[in-house]
């Protein structure tokens, strides 16, 4: 199982690894969700959904179903 954004815990940071461009909204990509960028999980709403992220300086929230489609690598691993 590859690690996705949805597997992170609050406080974790990771590097965006890859995703299928068709499964993500263009808006998210344009806000900086691109392979190689750093992503931090700032907060989780109740039921761990949505996720409040910091993607290389951009603060935004996405739903878990979207986060599951973004593969990441934890920092320092």
């Amino acid at each position: 199982m590859r690690l996705t954004l949805a597997d992170l815990e609050v406080g974790d940071t990771a590097i965006i690894d890859s995703f299928d461009v068709e499964e993500l909204p263009m808006k998210l990509i344009e806000m900086g969700c691109l392979p190689g960028n750093e992503v931090g999980l700032l907060q989780l709403a109740p039921y761990r959904d949505p996720l409040y992220l910091n993607i290389s300086g951009a603060h935004l929230a996405i739903r878990r179903e979207t986060a599951k489609r973004i593969f990441v690598q934890k920092k320092g691993e």
Binding site: V21, E22, L24, P25, M26, K27, L28, I29, E30, M31, G32, L34, L42, Q43, A45, P46, Y47, D49, P50, Y52, S56, G57, A58, H59, L60, A61, I62, R63, T66
Partner: protein, 696 residues
């Protein structure tokens, strides 16, 4: 010599674009709609140096030129259409100093359309605190533009911006990125097919998938089917384009932007830890809500009473002063109360928008959306539906207008359809009089029983809204995968000027839009109530004189009651009596229901007229209602019929203005028609069940 130019204000949401617009144009603003759609169009006039005058168009906030909503589509539609009368001579792109990287993406896209673009870096007052330094000269060179560092909050840098706009001809139209480097093969052959067109513009047309572009795109496909390939191919190219743009932006920022992280304070982090906390987040949200509603009811009473009495006085004055050829009765009994019925909601609507725009300006609203999204999704709604549903307790009209930022059409439509179930302020007078009549003023476990029943009816409204949403969610087809991406903006102190301007603009739009409908209906109702068929109505004076002496003080009241009974409206009320009998109502209540179809609050006033109580004072109507009996001597208003009536008012769609606004927001009569039929059916069945249950 004076010159007139078109300026388009473009920018990401939350960059303070509206503040810049307000500073440029002051009160010289007008809002309308783009033809055919409900997107708001804001324009204003601005005087620039050297006698240049500019029409400034405040375009909807957008993150990029790849539109994902109707609002955003307006921007690209305008920028691709040179023949549009609003096509800008110069674009002013507003960015936020703390989110410059993301904001520059849009700037480079606009620049690549060969439109002269000025970069405004707003919120410069935060630079020192955040440890940011910017080399604007270097930035101007690298981006081939003019940069204005402004602070809309402190009104700094506006003169420089105006100077730049006036000198727009000096700005280079050189693009930032040559699009063909993304895929030389594809773009090379595209240029060959359309040699006279700008390559980036062609690319924009190909990748847009909404309205306008569709026409343009079909024309392209007719000429050449090769370049409009599969969406995955195009999306991959778009991603590549975005990566290239960020590479370019990073180069620029590396050369001219320094941020000293040691100086940065982490206010956002600290506030977020509380405001988006699993428990505290909700607690704080409910405290804020409670305070807003307390304020809404406490502060609106005085102005509402004032409006009520003023209109009543105006009405009296007209009746006694106007010459008969001006139809004083139509004006005094139809038009003025009709207008009063609109104006009476202004204090509450203005106040609600005041609070909502403060919550939005501070950035708190995004946190509410964040914490409630998951819960609301169970009901087919979105976190963004929370605000409309809550606003609905004041009035459904502004609430429905507030659904515009829900991107997903299904979630937005469900929100619009269920919002009228929430207990709006117009139901309150109906509830108050009926509760006073049928519920004893007693205490149960320390709580006031009447207050308890009122609260139950508020909760009933919310429960019905959620239930209806759930049912709609299950029966409506799922449209294509919905994406939920919201920006979590920085916390900011609200700007009073912005708040006040929003409030004025929204209130104006309510009065004008809903006003027309309420006015028309109230005139119609007046005509129906003051005319009747045959001689029974015409000879009312003589008929009443048979039982009451003309000189008697009660004569006028007897006369108006008699007239109402024999008017078209009265006949209508009697006509529906067989239908409403099982709910526990007589024909008089029938008239009140028919007349409050236009607006619920008419209920009490109509009953006052029917029971020929001279003035609409609550105590007197209540006493009169309490003593109202059927022919066999049993009372009309019992616990069963009273509760049944309240349930009817809780669920029925009795608000012309709401129907009009739903029609406007959904662009079709279909949805308001469904709302009317279904809600009335639910109300009927609910009232029937209530009456039959309590009447046992």
């Amino acid at each position: 010599m004076s010159k007139h130019i078109n300026v388009a204000l473009i920018g990401n949401p939350n960059t303070g674009k509206s503040s810049v617009f307000n500073h440029l144009t002051g009160l010289n603003q007008k809002t309308g709609n783009y033809p055919g759609i409900t997107v708001e169009k804001k324009q204003g006039v601005c005087r620039l140096p050297r006698g240049v005058k500019a029409t400034v168009l405040d375009l909807p906030g957008t993150y990029s030129l790849n539109a994902s909503s109707l609002d955003e589509n307006v921007v690209i539609e305008l920028l691709l259409n040179k023949n549009d009368k609003d096509f800008p001579d110069v674009a002013v792109v507003v960015s936020d100093v703390e989110n410059l990287k993301r904001n520059l993406l849009l700037f480079t896209q606009i620049k690549d359309l060969n439109i002269p673009a000025i970069l405004v870096i707003n919120m410069s007052d935060r630079m020192r605190r955040k440890g940011i330094r910017i080399d604007t000269e270097m930035m101007e060179q690298m981006l081939h533009t003019k940069v204005a560092l402004v602070s809309a909050r402190k009104n700094e840098g506006m003169a420089l911006l105006k100077e730049h706009i006036a000198a727009y001809k000096k700005i280079s139209t050189k693009p930032c990125l040559s699009i063909d480097q993304i895929d030389p093969d594809y773009f090379g052959s595209l240029q060959q097919t359309f040699p006279n067109q700008s390559l980036y513009k062609l690319w924009m047309v190909i990748t847009q998938d909404v309205n306008f572009a569709r026409v343009e795109r079909k024309r392209m496909e007719a000429q050449d089917g090769n370049h409009t390939r599969s969406t995955s191919f195009l999306k991959r190219l778009q991603q590549k384009e975005t990566i290239k743009r960020y590479q370019f932006i990073n180069q620029v920022l590396k050369a001219c932007y320094v941020k000293d992280f040691q100086k940065a304070t982490d206010l956002r982090g600290r506030l977020d830890r509380i405001l988006t906390h699993k428990v505290w987040g909700f607690v704080i949200f409910f405290i804020i809500l409670m305070s807003i509603f307390q304020a809404l009811y406490d502060w609106s009473g005085v102005p509402m009473d004032f409006i009520d009495t003023s209109f009543a006085q105006l009405s009296d004055w007209v009746k006694t002063t106007l010459p008969s050829w001006l139809a004083p009765n139509l004006i005094a009994e139809g038009i003025i109360p009709g207008l009063g019925g609109i104006v009476i909601f202004v204090p509450q609507i203005a106040m609600l928008f005041f609070f909502i725009s403060i919550l939005e300006e501070t950035g708190y609203m995004s946190r509410v959306v964040f914490i409630t999204d998951r819960v609301m999704r169970r009901f087919g709604l979105s976190g963004k539906s929370v605000i409309p549903l809550i606003s609905g307790t004041a009035c459904a009209i502004p609430a429905i207008m507030a659904t515009r930022n829900i991107e997903n059409w299904k979630e937005r439509l469900i929100t619009i359809l269920v919002t009228p179930f929430t207990t709006c302020s117009a139901r309150l007078p109906v509830y108050l009089i009926l509760i006073g009549l049928i519920i004893p003023n007693e205490r149960i476990l320390g709580a006031n029983l009447q207050g308890l029943v009122l609260m139950i009816f508020y909760l009933l409204g919310f429960a019905m809204a959620l239930l209806a949403a759930f049912v709609l969610h299950k029966i409506m087809p799922n449209n294509k995968a919905s994406y939920f991406v919201i920006e979590m903006p920085n916390y900011r102190l609200p700007l009073l000027k912005n708040v006040v301007l929003t409030l004025i603009e929204k209130t104006k739009s309510f009065v004008l839009e809903a006003g027309k409908v309420i006015l028309a209906i109230s005139i119609l109702l007046w005509v129906l109530a003051s005319n009747g068929p045959g001689s029974t109505f015409k000879n009312a004076q003589e008929e009443v004189a048979k039982t009451v002496a003309v000189t008697d003080s009660g004569f006028e009241q007897q006369l108006s009651a008699y007239k109402l009974e024999h008017s078209y409206l009265g006949i209508l009320g009697k006509g529906i009596e067989p239908v409403i009998r099982p709910l526990g109502y007589d024909w008089k209540i029938g008239i009140a229901i028919v007349s409050s179809f236009a607006a619920r609050e008419v209920f009490v006033g109509t009953l006052a007229t029917i029971y020929n109580v001279g003035d609409a004072e609550e105590v007197t109507i209540k006493n009169r209602m309490a003593s109202e009996t059927y022919a066999d001597g049993s009372p009309v208003f019992t616990l069963a019929s009273g509760l049944s009536l309240m349930v009817f008012y809780a669920f029925a769609m009795q608000c012309m203005s709401t129907l009009a606004i739903v029609r406007k927001e959904t662009n079709s009569w279909r949805w308001p028609a469904i709302q009317l039929v279904v809600m009335t059916a639910i109300a009927y069945l609910g009232a029937l069940a209530t009456f039959q249950y309590f009447n046992l």
